[in-house]
Amino acid sequence: MTKNSNMSVLLKGLLLENPVFVLILGTCPTLATTTTLIGAIGMGLAATAVLICSNAVISLLRKVIPESVRIPCYIVIIAGFVTVVQMFIHAYLPTLYELLGVYLALITVNCIILGRAEMFASKNSVGKSVLDGIGMGLGFTLALVSIALIREVFGAGTFFGMEIPVLSNFKIEFLTKAPGGFLVYGIMIAAVSKITKGKAPYKKEFSCANCPSASFCGKQNCEERKGN
């Protein structure tokens, strides 16, 4: 497999290892910020920026950071970049800042970012880590936008806030609410698994294997839980 060629590092995030639809990471913002397209794009790009920066820095420092404190270090670096992004959005895009609210700060605990830091950036060169960040970030944005497209167009009858003539009279408001978010997300995962059947490492279960916390909660604990 040409698994490690730069192009494939970049592209795998978009579909085959799409963080939202295939790796099932970052579910919280996926559901919360996809009621509007603007929110989805804002969240996607903000997370992408953080992801690229944190991947780059963590990859750069991968030989310096001691193994035992690597998770706290990652968290501090990620939280730092999140705050930087947050401050810039607050300063230059106040409406978006209001729209995303607490979810902007919560990029810190977005599993995608910590997950990529742990699974990829800590093991690969800076260049590849940046590419991985771009790919994963865009994959995340793409997923958010595709969910938001359904939820905004059919749920609110608008497209980027502009009313769609006929649809706005027949809007399915349920989709903009919390249950609609779960429903659309579920159907999208099913659709992606159908499309990529056999090619993507499709997860049947949401288990410890793809939980980024697994690396520091310790394999032993996960085994224990399986035993429960």
């Binding site: 099932i24 579910t27 919280c28 913002p29 559901l31 919360a32 998770i71 706290p72 968290i75 501090v76 939280a79 730092g80 999140v82 705050t83 947050q86 401050m87 609210g101 607490v102 700060a105 919560l106 810190t108 605990v109 977005n110 599993c111 910590l114 609410k177 919390a178 249950p179 609609g180 978010g181 779960f182 429903l183 997300y185 579920g186 159907i187 995962i189 099913a190 659709a191 698994s193 159908k194 997860k203 049947k204 279960e205 949401f206 288990s207 410890c208 939980c211 980024p212 916390s213 520091f216 909660c217 310790g218 604990n221 224990e224 839980r225 429960n228």
Partner: protein, 200 residues
């Protein structure tokens, strides 16, 4: 009396109306990951309640006596996440040493909580979103934790049914779980408005 009433309203609305999992989408990962069995769901829920209340008790004074007076409001996220991570770490060590039985039942869920966005979410919300005082913050955190536990327990019951039902191949596993979550969330819609009118 009035303040007691406001505390009850805060508690009820955070458990039922603004349920963190089902209406604000915070803490979805553990909600989907650890809700397969009733005992693991309740174990995780209890651990979350504990950490949420502890984290709020620590972060609220930090924000109001350390960060805000010194113009360090921008350090909020980074300080809070470190506090939570440290708290989780200490709690686990303390439990392991002093209450091994509790550690056996709750301990395994504790490390997962650092990256549970509901915990960071509630500590930030108490300050930025609601501007609660200390007591209100504690009550709100308790309510959010209870709401999380409630959602987990309810959902674990629903999941055991789904495991046994016949569904199309592509929907097996996660998609079906998410759609089930959608129904539970829909059920919680019924609570909207109750709390507002309870004391009106």
């Amino acid at each position: 009396m009035d303040s007691f009433k406001s505390l009850v309203v805060i508690l009820l609305s955070s458990v039922l109306v603004n349920n963190y999992v089902l209406s604000r989408f915070l803490g979805i990962c553990p909600f989907l990951g650890v809700s397969k069995k009733l005992n693991s769901a309740s174990g995780m829920g209890l651990a979350v309640i504990f950490v949420m209340v502890m984290a709020t008790a620590v972060t609220w004074p930090i924000q109001h006596y350390l960060l805000t007076p010194n113009g360090l409001g921008y350090m909020q996220t980074i300080v809070f996440i470190l506090v939570i991570a440290a708290l989780v770490q200490f709690t686990e060590m303390a439990l392991k040493k002093f209450v091994p039985s509790l550690h056996k039942s709750l301990g395994v869920y504790l490390p997962l909580i650092t990256t549970n966005c509901a915990v960071l979410g509630v500590t930030i919300d108490n300050i930025n979103e609601h501007n609660f005082n200390f007591l209100q913050s504690i009550v709100n955190s308790l309510g959010c934790g209870l709401g999380f536990l409630l959602a987990m327990v309810l959902f674990s019951g629903m999941r055991s049914k789904i495991e046994e039902s016949e569904i199309p191949e592509s929907f097996k596993g996660l998609p079906a779980t998410l759609i089930a979550a959608s129904f539970v969330s829909l059920a919680f819609f019924g609570f909207a408005g109750i709390v507002d009118n309870l004391f009106a």
